[in-house]
C-alpha cells in the first residue's frame, strides 16, 4: 500500500514541479538508465544520492522514503536471492548493487509519478507524437494506480471491520485472506472500467475530430538547464570511469 501511495500525485510548490513534465520524465529516465547500465557499487550510490537530492529539491523526501519502506520486503528479497547463490564478499556487493539498482528505479519513477498528474503525462505523450488512444490508455492506467490503492484500503478496512486479520496466521491463511480482498476488488474495478468506458463515449470520445487542449506544455530555459546538467553529469560519470 505504501509503495502504491508513493505513486500518487501531490502538487507542491518546488523548482522540480515547475519543470516541464517531459523534462521530469527525461531526468527520471536518465537516472534509471544509469542505474541499469552500471554494475558498480559506487556508481549506484552516486545515482541514488542524485535521486534523493532531486526528491529533496522536490520537497518529497518523506513520501519517497515511505514508498521505499513499503517496498522493503521486495528489497530484502532481491538482496537475499542474489546473496544466497554467492555467499561471499563479492556476492554481497553484487546483491547490494542489485538492491540499489531496484531502489533507484523505484524512487526515480515514484518521484516522477508523484509530481506529474496523469493528465500531464497524457499531454506530454501526445506532445511527442504518441496517438491519442495509446496516450489515453497509459494516462488512465497511471490515473487509477492511486484509486486502486484507495480501493484496496477501503476493502481491507471493511474486511478487518468484520474480524478478518489479514496479516495474521500461517502463510497459507494469509494468502487465503488476500483472496477475500481480491474478489470485491476485481468486481469493483470491472464495474468501474465499464462505467468509465460509457462515460467516455457519452462525452464524445472516439469522434473523428482532432481534440483541442486547454493546457499546453511550455519548455523554458529551466528545462534546458536541467537537461544539460543531466547530460553533463552522465558525461562526467563516463569520463571519470564510473560507467
Amino acid at each position: 500500500m505504501e509503495a502504491l501511495r508513493a505513486f500518487k500525485t501531490i502538487k507542491k510548490d518546488s523548482l522540480y514541479d515547475r519543470l516541464d513534465p517531459r523534462t521530469r520524465f527525461f531526468l527520471s529516465t536518465v537516472l534509471a538508465f544509469l542505474a541499469i547500465y552500471s554494475s558498480r557499487l559506487d556508481t549506484q550510490l552516486i545515482v541514488l544520492t542524485c535521486v534523493l537530492s532531486l526528491s529533496f529539491m522536490a520537497k518529497r523526501v518523506r513520501v519517497i522514503l515511505r514508498g521505499l519502506y513499503g517496498s522493503l520486503f521486495l528489497l530484502v528479497l532481491i538482496f537475499t536471492l542474489n546473496f544466497i547463490f554467492t555467499p561471499n564478499l563479492q556476492g554481497a556487493i553484487y546483491a547490494l548493487v542489485m538492491t540499489l539498482r531496484f531502489t533507484t528505479l523505484i524512487t526515480s519513477f515514484a518521484l516522477f509519478f508523484n509530481s506529474t498528474s496523469p493528465e500531464e503525462i497524457g499531454i506530454a505523450l501526445e506532445g511527442v507524437g504518441v496517438p491519442r488512444d495509446f496516450s489515453l490508455l497509459i494516462n488512465m492506467s497511471f490515473r487509477f494506480v492511486p484509486t486502486l490503492a484507495n480501493d484496496i484500503q477501503i476493502v481491507s478496512d471493511a474486511l478487518r471491520s468484520r474480524g478478518l486479520e489479514l496479516e495474521k496466521g500461517r502463510l497459507y491463511n494469509r494468502i487465503k485472506n488476500y483472496v477475500y480482498l481480491l474478489v470485491p476488488l476485481i468486481i469493483f474495478e470491472v464495474r468501474r472500467s465499464m462505467m468509465i468506458a460509457e462515460a467516455l463515449e457519452a462525452r464524445g470520445y472516439g469522434l473523428d475530430v482532432k481534440p483541442t487542449r486547454l493546457v499546453s506544455l511550455k519548455f523554458t530555459w529551466k528545462d534546458c538547464l536541467a537537461i544539460v546538467l543531466a547530460l553533463l553529469g552522465t558525461f562526467l560519470l563516463y569520463f571519470f570511469g564510473f560507467l
Binding site: D151, S161, L164, P184
Partner: protein, 288 residues
C-alpha cells in the same frame, strides 16, 4: 447527560494526520452514550468517516485517545474492537465477496470463532430481520443495490455488536429503501443498540436521531438535539448543511411575524401552531 447514562465511546482530544500529510481531525472531544442514536454531520472532508474509523481501531489517533467500553483503541486490536463496534461502510460492493448471501453473513461469525450451529441460527436471524432470507443461496452480486446495502447491515448485525455505525446509509437510496433503512434503525433501537449515523440527510436525521454532532475541517463545531442544531443557521452555514424543509418554512413564516419561533421539526407541531395562529387571527372563531 445524566449520571445514569453510560459513555460507551469516549473521544478525548483526538488528532489524526493521514500519511499524505492531511490533518483530518484536530482536537475532537466528544462521547457516544449507550443506547443513543447519534448522527455525525458536516461537509465532505470534514473528518466524519475518519472519526468513525477510529471507533473500531482501523485508524489510531496521532494524538489524544479514544476509549470504547474503557478499552484504549491504541492498545486494542481491530478484531477485538469490531466485536463491540460494527461498521457498515457506505458502498456495500466494497465488502461483498462470498459465493452466497449465507456465507457473506457467516463470514464475520467464522472470523470471531462462533460454533457452526450458532452461526447458522445467527445468520438466519439476521437475514430474516432484513428480509433477505429468501436469497440465502443466491450470489450477493445478484441482489439489487438496496438489498446489497441491507446485506452489508445483516453481516454486521449477525455478530451482535453493541454499537452499529452506519456510514451514509441513505446515500443513493430511493424513498422505499430509505423507509426500509428507517425501519431497521427503529428495530436496532428497540434491540437496545447504540447507533452512530454518518449522513448529510437532514430530513432523515430529524426523524430518528437524538443528538447531532456537526463537524467542519476536522473539528466539532456544534452538538446537541436536532431542534437546536438544525435551527441554528450559523452552524448550518459552517457545516455546509441544508436546513430541514420544516425549518425553512417556519423561518419564512417567522420572518413575516406569523410564528413566534422556527424550531419545528415535525409536521404535526408546525401545522398545529399554524392552525392556532389562524384561529387567533380570526378571533378564535375559525372553523379550521
Amino acid at each position: 447527560m445524566s449520571e445514569s447514562e453510560e459513555k460507551i465511546i469516549e473521544i478525548d482530544n483526538v488528532y489524526y494526520e493521514y500519511p499524505e500529510g492531511i490533518q483530518a481531525l484536530r482536537g475532537v472531544t466528544n462521547y457516544v452514550l449507550r443506547g443513543e442514536i447519534v448522527a455525525i454531520m458536516g461537509e465532505n472532508g470534514a473528518g466524519k468517516t475518519t472519526l468513525i474509523k477510529h471507533f473500531n481501531g482501523l485508524l489510531k489517533p496521532t494524538r489524544g485517545r479514544i476509549k470504547v467500553k474503557d478499552k484504549d483503541t491504541r492498545k486494542t486490536s481491530v478484531a477485538e474492537l469490531s466485536r463491540i463496534v460494527g461498521i457498515v461502510f457506505q458502498n456495500p460492493d466494497h465488502q461483498l465477496f462470498a459465493e452466497t448471501v449465507f456465507d457473506e453473513v457467516a463470514f464475520p461469525l467464522r472470523n470471531f470463532g462462533f460454533p457452526e450451529d450458532v452461526i447458522e441460527n445467527r445468520v438466519k436471524w439476521a437475514l430474516n430481520i432484513l428480509e433477505l432470507y429468501q436469497y440465502c443461496d443466491k450470489s450477493p452480486f445478484m441482489l439489487s443495490v438496496g438489498e446489497r446495502k441491507r446485506l452489508a447491515i445483516a453481516s454486521v448485525l449477525a455478530y451482535d455488536p453493541e454499537v452499529i455505525v452506519l456510514d451514509e446509509p441513505t446515500a443513493g437510496q430511493d424513498y422505499l429503501q430509505k423507509e426500509k433503512i428507517s425501519e431497521i434503525i427503529k428495530l436496532l433501537k428497540l434491540m437496545g443498540k447504540t447507533i452512530v449515523l454518518v449522513t448529510h440527510d437532514v430530513e432523515f436525521v430529524t426523524m430518528y436521531v437524538q443528538r447531532i454532532i456537526v463537524m467542519s475541517q476536522g473539528k466539532i463545531i456544534a452538538e446537541g438535539p436536532p431542534h437546536r442544531v438544525l435551527t441554528d443557521y450559523n452552524v448550518i452555514r459552517r457545516g455546509n448543511l441544508l436546513p430541514p424543509q420544516l425549518v425553512r418554512i417556519s423561518r419564512a413564516l417567522y420572518g413575516k411575524s406569523l410564528l413566534d419561533r422556527y424550531d419545528y421539526l415535525s409536521v404535526e407541531d408546525l401545522s398545529r401552531e399554524i392552525i392556532s395562529k389562524m384561529r387567533e387571527a380570526n378571533g378564535g372563531t375559525s372553523s379550521i
